[in-house]
């Protein structure tokens, strides 16, 4: 039985690694077919053909693509992300600070939104059909349908411009106190929470409602169990699989999909770094960012799968 579980988990990990390999190949190919020759772009329009040829040779650009792919992949595995074309600094250095910023913002948002979203979803499932349930549902649908740049700009307009409670920009501010940190993070975190909570609320509500409709939930009620006990002891453990998956999907958005929020609040995160890299044709940087997004996404999804597997006694 345990062997079966190990093979199941091993299988999940293997699939994740395989996905990563395929994605890295696709990322590499995609950046290769971008128009323009890297050497020409780097040297500018005044470059002599000899200089271009020399640079191409120096950058191993004349090697077959597959060889370059493996060289790049090997570098990634050993932690060598390459050198940025745009400013000649190691990419690892560029990414490190930005990734830290992004992870901070993501962690703050997750800590804030996941408990609230789950609580809202589960309570509205418990009070299904009540006024409370309907208003939560209405609110989530409203939030889903409003694009995030609207929420972000409205937030800036109201809290920064009119009320002057919060700073409009998060950039270039040294944080000295906890209160200051709260002020800086408040608006980006709120905006992102709005975006990712809606899905979590809807999914956790649906999963718990489904579990409450089962005969074992009815049985628990007929044993005299109170409503909270039925939900917490009987419905929730069986709804865990879909809920953690919804949470993982929502959280994965926090790294790659936050470009709008990062731009509006001028937050120095990794999504903004990648967009800047596209503007300067900084191929190694684009590739590295894409790979980081992919790794985080797979990490979250695989964790959710593992939790779902472990929470199911039939598989355990």
């Amino acid at each position: 039985m345990n062997l079966h579980l190990l093979s199941l988990l091993g299988g999940r990990l293997l699939v994740a690694l395989l996905t990563l390999l395929i994605v890295s190949f696709v990322v590499f190919c995609a950046t290769q077919i971008l128009p323009g020759d890297v050497a020409e772009v780097l040297l500018g329009q005044a470059a002599t053909p000899e200089a271009v040829a020399g640079l191409r040779a120096a950058m191993h650009l004349n090697d077959p693509a597959i060889l370059r792919f493996f060289r790049w992949l090997g570098g990634m595995l050993t932690g060598d992300l390459g050198i940025s074309y745009a400013n000649n600094r190691p990419i690892a250095e560029l990414v490190a600070g930005r990734l830290g910023n992004s992870l901070q913002l993501a962690a703050a948002t997750a800590l804030f939104s996941v408990p609230i979203a789950l609580a809202l979803g589960i309570t509205s499932a418990m009070l299904r059909g009540s006024l409370y349930d309907r208003s939560v549902t209405m609110a989530t649908i409203t939030v889903i349908s409003v694009p995030e740049f609207m929420i972000a700009t409205a937030g800036v307009l109201i809290f920064a411009v009119w009320l002057k409670w919060l700073p409009a920009l998060s950039f270039a501010r040294d944080v000295h106190s906890f209160g200051e940190m709260l002020r800086i993070y408040a608006m980006p975190v709120f905006t992102l929470s709005f975006v990712i909570s809606a899905q979590m609320i809807r999914m956790s509500r649906a999963a718990v409602v489904e579990a409450l409709n089962t005969p074992y939930a009815e049985m628990a009620q007929l044993k005299g169990a109170s409503r909270p006990r039925v939900v917490l002891r009987h419905a929730l453990p069986n709804a865990l699989g879909p809920i953690v998956n919804a949470v993982a999907l929502s959280l994965s958005y926090l790294l790659g999909g936050v470009i709008i929020v990062e731009t509006i609040f001028n937050y120095p995160g990794i999504a903004k770094l990648m967009v800047d890299a596209v503007a300067t044709r900084d191929l190694p940087l684009i590739q590295s960012c894409a790979m980081i997004f992919c790794v985080v996404y797979l990490l979250l999804i695989t964790t959710a799968d593992v939790i779902a597997i472990l929470s199911n006694p039939k598989l355990r």
Partner: protein
């Protein structure tokens, strides 16, 4: 002695999807004395479970108690608040569910669920509760009573789960236990064990009980009195003896009559006086199963193991066996849904391709299958007209008025009013849906119809009517049936010969009236002797060969 439970003029209302209020229990009154077991019997929709659940002060979603009183030990469950009702549930009134497999939480260990009532109501400390649970496991003759509680529900069998659910109900020493069709989902050989365990525990503890069932023979074994219900109203109340031997109400008589259908007369054989005709279907050592093929050419999970038989034109063959014996897989193999791993199927003397998609349209037309559940076999989004019209267009190329006329004739054949053809399957009753299901097979003008448990989901009276219809259609259209069922009495009512299957193997094939007689295969005898009889003393006097039971019972 004053009654323990007193139900007076109980009315329950249901709100339909359209928002209309419908009274589903229309003023029911009866009482239960301490220690007495009262059975509620009736077909589905008669309100028997609804009434039983009101003893717990519980109604399913969309229903509410609209009037009357349900007094349990002096308290009116209909008038209590939800909080006060919760205090009564599990302590004074306990519930044994219909499907224990669904009523156990798959994510919790069995012991935690069995003693949950003592935890909720704080009846006793945990070790005491666990010790009591083990005592109950022993009393219910569960295997490994000390350790079975540490397993998860999916790790024990259906019959064991059903007994465990009784332990779950009895742990709080309730005054009344409600049994909601607790053996309906079990095989007959398992049902006996469970019934015996229930009966002995109830006798020892002197608890009162409500036993909800549609099966008169099961109820006869366990109940002191029987309440016969139909359409939310009581038809007759009487002692078990009186209901069985001297039923007063016509509906009770109908129920009793449906229970013992007229066996198919062997005189059918007269039709086959002419030289033996060509068999319409012939199976030669057909094996089939699921999973990858092993090196020896057999699938990983062999469900049908080298089954051979011949079915002659105009004759019927019944296939019986318990769940998991491979009878449905056999039907799927013959129909070409699942290809056999070895062996040959001949139809009208010609070998047939293993897969339906390789068979000629003519072969497909002549061999039709009717599935167990009309609910899932009929497309809920198509009208009856479309459902029946499709095979007519496919096999016969009928269109327009010719097609409409044929649909009308088909509906006449299965005794459905023509006006039904504009309805959707969801708007028909269970019996009507099964008739449409049958009519769809008949639309092809088949020679052989595979009937896979087609009466299992139906009430006894409705099932008896479907069997009558099958016989009538056979006389009119000269069909042959391969009739698959777990219910021996139904099979005997329609078939000339019966094949008994056990673990994928055909253990015996006999004329229908010979099955289970001495000299037959031991499994067939065990199966036959396990079918409950209307005689109330049947269970107590039944003696089964322990070796036989040990050899064939799945437990």
């Amino acid at each position: 002695m004053s009654p323990l439970v007193e139900i007076r003029d109980l009315k329950v209302e249901a709100t339909t999807d359209a928002g209309r209020r419908v009274e589903i229990i229309k003023g029911v009154s009866f009482e239960i004395a301490p220690g007495e077991i009262v059975a509620l019997i009736g077909e589905s929709g008669s309100g028997k479970t609804t009434i039983a659940l009101t003893l717990l002060g519980y109604t399913r979603a969309g229903c509410r108690i609209a009037g009357g009183s349900v007094s349990v030990d002096g308290r009116d469950m209909a008038a209590l608040s939800e909080k006060e009702r919760a205090k009564v549930r599990g302590v004074d009134v306990a519930y044994v569910p219909q499907s224990a497999a669904a009523a156990f939480n798959p994510a919790q260990r069995i012991m935690d669920q069995v003693i949950e009532i003592t935890r909720i109501h704080q009846l006793m400390p945990r070790p005491a509760a666990e010790a009591k649970a083990v005592e109950l496991f022993k009393a219910l003759s569960l295997p490994a009573p000390e350790s079975i509680g540490s397993r998860y529900p999916h790790q024990v069998s259906g019959g064991q789960l059903q007994r465990l659910s009784a332990a779950m109900a009895l742990i709080g020493d309730p005054k009344v236990v409600i049994f909601d069709e607790p053996t309906t989902a079990l095989d007959v050989t398992t049902q006996i064990e469970v019934l015996r365990a229930f009966k002995s525990v109830m006798r020892q503890s002197r608890m009162a009980g409500v036993y909800v069932s549609h099966d008169l023979a099961v109820v006869a074994q366990i109940a002191d009195r029987i309440v016969v219900l139909k359409g939310g109203e009581i038809q007759e109340i009487g002692t078990t003896e009186q209901i069985l031997s001297a039923p007063k109400h016509p509906y009770t008589r109908e129920l009793l009559a449906a229970f013992s259908p007229v066996a198919r007369v062997a005189a059918q054989a007269a039709a086959t006086a002419s030289p033996p005709p060509q068999p319409v279907l012939e199976l030669d050592a057909v094996s089939a199963g699921y999973g990858r093929l092993q090196p020896n050419g057999k699938p990983l999970m062999l469900a049908v193991d080298a089954v051979s038989f011949k079915l002659e034109r105009g004759r019927n063959l019944g296939v019986i066996g318990e769940s998991g014996c491979g009878k449905s897989t056999l039907a799927r193999t013959i129909a070409g849904i699942l290809p056999p791993s070895s062996g040959h199927i001949r139809f009208d003397g010609r070998p047939m391709a293993p897969l339906a998609r390789d068979r000629t349209p003519e072969e497909l037309r002549k061999l039709q299958i009717v599935f167990q559940s009309a609910d899932t076999a009929l497309n809920p989004a198509q009208s009856i007209e479309d459902i029946l019209g499709r095979p007519l267009a496919f096999y016969h190329g009928l269109r327009g008025p010719a097609r409409d006329a044929r649909i009308d004739r088909l509906l006449d054949l299965v005794h459905l009013p023509r006006a039904l053809k504009h309805r959707l399957p969801g708007e028909l009753s269970g019996g009507q849906k099964q008739r449409v299901n049958l009519a769809r097979a008949l639309a092809a003008d088949p020679e052989l119809v595979l009937c896979d448990e087609i009466t299992s989901a139906l009430d006894t009276v409705v099932a008896a009517a479907i069997i009558e219809l099958l016989k009538e259609l056979q006389r009119e259209l000269g069909l042959s049936y391969l009739f698959i069922s777990h219910d021996l009495t139904t099979v005997q009512a329609i078939c000339d010969e019966v094949a008994v299957m056990y673990r994928g193997v055909k253990v015996e094939q006999l004329p229908a009236d010979q099955v289970g007689k001495a000299g037959g295969h031991p499994y067939a005898r065990l199966l036959m002797s396990s079918v409950p009889k209307l005689d109330p003393s049947w269970l107590d006097t039944l003696e089964r060969d322990p070796e036989l039971v040990a050899a064939f019972s799945k437990r």
